[in-house]
Every structure is written in C-alpha cells, then in structure tokens.
Symmetry: C2
Subunit: 219 residues, 2 copies
DNA sequence: AGCTCCATGTAAGTCGTTACATGATTCA
DNA sequence: TGAATCATGTAACGACTTACATGGAGCT
C-alpha cells in the first residue's frame, strides 16, 4: 500500500511519465534494493490513481514529428490531500517477513556447511547493500541526485535542509540495518563453528537432523 | 514463498492438523509479529502441498462419537527432500519493503509534529517487539516452548543443542533488529528537534512543504 | 540498417488479507 | 444451554511477479 504514496510524492516533484517514474522509483526510493517495482505494476497503478482522481494525465506529443504520445502525470488537489493524509497517518508496520530468519530457525535440516553458506550469502548481500547506501547518502548530502535536485528547485530555500535531511536519515537507517544484518550473519558463522567443534565426527555434508517421513497408510 | 517450507518444517516435527499448524506458526515462527498467516491461507496451501505430493493427509475421527473428522498432515519422502533442498538453496533476499522508510524519506509533506509522531510510533512498536522476542529467547533457552519440545522429543539428544541454538540465534537477530529500529527512531526525533529549532517561527501544524498542484489543462 | 532508449500496455499466476460461512466438541 | 475452542473451508480482492507484446525516437 506504499507504492501509491511513493508515486504521489514523486509526481509532486514535477510532471512525469510512467516510464520516468519507474526509473526514478527504482533508483532513489528503491536503489534497486528496498522496493523495486515492475513497470507493469506502475503503469496499472497510475491508471487507477487517475481513475480515483488523485492524479491527472496530460497527454503530450513525443518527438518532433509526433506520431506517438506520452502521458505526463500531475497531482490533483485530491492527490495533494491524500499525500498529506498518508504522512500524518500511523500505519501498523507489516510483519518483517524475512525468509532468512525463518530459514535460520530450521538450519538443523541441513549440514553445517549449508548453514555457513546461508550466513555467508546473508553477509555478502548486506555488505553490498551497506556500500550502495553509503554512496547514496553521500550523494544526498551533496544534493547530487536528480530527483532531489528537481524537488529542491520547486521548494523555498529555507526548507531545503529539511527535505535533504529526511531522505539522508532514511538511508542512514538502512545502513544501520545492513550493519545489524552483517553482525548477525557473523555471529551465525561463529555459532556454526562452535556446534561443529562440539560434534567433530559428524560428516560435513550430512544434515544435522534428517527429516523423517512418518508411517503412511496406503491411500 | 517461505510459508510453504515453514509448514513442511512444522509438519516434520509431528503429524498436525491445519488448525494446529496455524496456531503454532502464529506463535513460534511468527510470534504474532514476524510472519502472521491467516488460517484461510494455511488450509488452502496445505491442500496444494497435498496435491503436489509433499505432504500426506491422514483423515482421523474427532471426539468419541465421531460425527466429524480432521486431517492430520504428515511429511512424504518428497516433502522431506524439498525441505532439505530449501535449506541448501540460496534465495536472493526480497526487498526490505518497509513503508516506514519510504514515509521517512517524505516527511517534509507533514509538520514536525507529524514527523515526531511517526518516529514515536516506530519506537514504541519495536520496543514491544524487542520485549516479546526477549521473552521468547529465554523460553527457547529453557526449552520451554511446546513446538520445540515436540521437535526435541523426535531427535537424538546430541543434536538438541543445535536445534535450540539455531532458533535462539534467529530470535536474537530479531532483537538486534528491533534495537536498531529503536535507535533510528530516536535519531529521527533528534533530527526533527534540530530542524524545528532552526525554524522556530514555523507553525507547529503546518506542513514543511505543502504539496503543490500543477496547472491543469481542462479535460 | 540496426541498436539503444523511450514509452505503454495486457495476461496469467502467486501470495496474502478480509470477510463470509459452517458445524462439532468440550466444559461449566 | 451457552460459550470457548476445535476444525475446515470458499469468495473476492489487492499487491506483486513474470512473461508476452508492440512500436516510435534518436543516433551511428
């Protein structure tokens, strides 16, 4: 339910086509990691927002000899209201829904090596995320990202600091998250080492606890 | 795509009805926070797993004068294979998809008080989560949860430590996550205070950046 | 002529939520 | 007799993914 409002916020920054929104969303908001959305979803959602009266589409010609058109979306008054309403609303957070933690709770169905592989992949993924986010925060602080620049251009200078600071704070939180995940993966690797040391005779490839099949009445 | 496998893991611990699985999943794996699933989803998924041959349903009578039946699910050989396959597989993590971070990046559309309310709600939510998870880790370490006990009963004593340790590690990671969120929310509150102090004349209720509606060609 | 980018969609399917619906069992 | 719990589903809808499909614009 958040893509709607992220789109409204992006549109507020200036009239944009679905193509541009998809590109921007998957860079700035998503940084290709946090919330990637397919163009198919964005186009259909824009049509819905239009039907709901939250955005307005201006059909514009493309190119010089305009044989095709594009649709530039703008915020309507209702859309601006909805954007403010969303910011003020307290939603209950969705569950964390992280498969890595579900799997971690059941690692005994694999070998110690399998467990190590999971934690190493987890660490590698969040190391990359952390690095990407750190680059992004620096760009935000330098006010170097196109989306931010477009937004600042339309706002009075005394709020530039606030606009920039909120975005940077969001990304700094994501960096802190990534660091927490990295530390957790490393503690997981330590744990596996301790468990393996306590069971030195167990074959490296064998599941700690082979899944058992119950007696089965023949159907 | 993880509910499938969480169910397989729960079923491995012993034959269970859909009702029992729903209850257990929303306590142990979910702790009502991490991955709640409705019974409707669980029942339909169990039927699908059955059709795929990963589980087998034993139809049993209910009560003494059995006027109704229940279906106790067990793991098939294929199901056990799928469980091991899942543990060994490295999935790419889904995006974080956290609305709180999306919203945080656009807090300039609300007042400073709205921003504070968001961060306070965030902190309160994760403080509760942290406390719940801490209780759960203690219960796991005491081997006091019913699901864990059932699982240990069916496993040889030399792997009890591993089974318990993996689950406790997962929950300790969730505690660390919650602490990171709390710290982020508090830094957010500090940030809002700094921004508000720099703009002391701004009305408390006014949006930092009122959303603007673009000129609209009449349709 | 060919390649990359711009631009917009439809269709099918999975996952998940909310609401609707039913009925037996157990215990006080 | 009534309430809580056990037990199992269907229907409709929204969010999201993957695959399919099309075609102009700009440049070399």
């Amino acid at each position: 339910m958040s893509l709607r409002h992220a789109l409204l916020a992006l549109i507020e920054a200036g009239p944009s086509t679905g193509y541009e929104l998809a590109k921007r969303f998957n860079q700035s908001a998503g940084a290709a990691h946090v919330w990637h959305a397919q163009h198919s979803q964005i186009y259909t959602l824009l049509r819905r927002l239009e039907a709901e009266g939250l955005v307005y589409a201006n059909t514009l010609p493309r190119g010089e000899r305009a044989l095709a058109t594009k649709r530039a979306y703008e915020l309507t008054a209702d859309g601006a209201v909805e954007l403010s309403r969303w910011i003020a609303a307290i939603e209950d957070p969705p569950g964390l829904r992280d498969t890595a933690y579900v799997k971690a709770a059941y690692l005994e169905y694999g070998s110690y090596d399998h467990a190590r592989a999971q934690f190493r992949a987890h660490r590698a993924y969040y190391e990359k995320l952390r690095d990407d986010f750190e680059v992004h925060v620096e760009q935000l602080e330098d006010r170097a990202t196109p989306t931010l620049q477009q937004r600042l251009r339309r706002a009075s200078p005394d709020v530039h600091e606030a606009i920039t600071a909120f975005k940077a704070h969001a990304y700094r939180g994501l960096i802190a998250r990534a660091r927490t995940e990295i530390a957790w993966a490393e503690q997981g690797l330590d744990l596996v080492d301790r468990l393996a040391a306590a069971n030195p005779d167990r074959p490296r490839d064998a599941p700690v606890l082979p899944a058992t099949v119950h007696k089965q009445d023949k159907a």
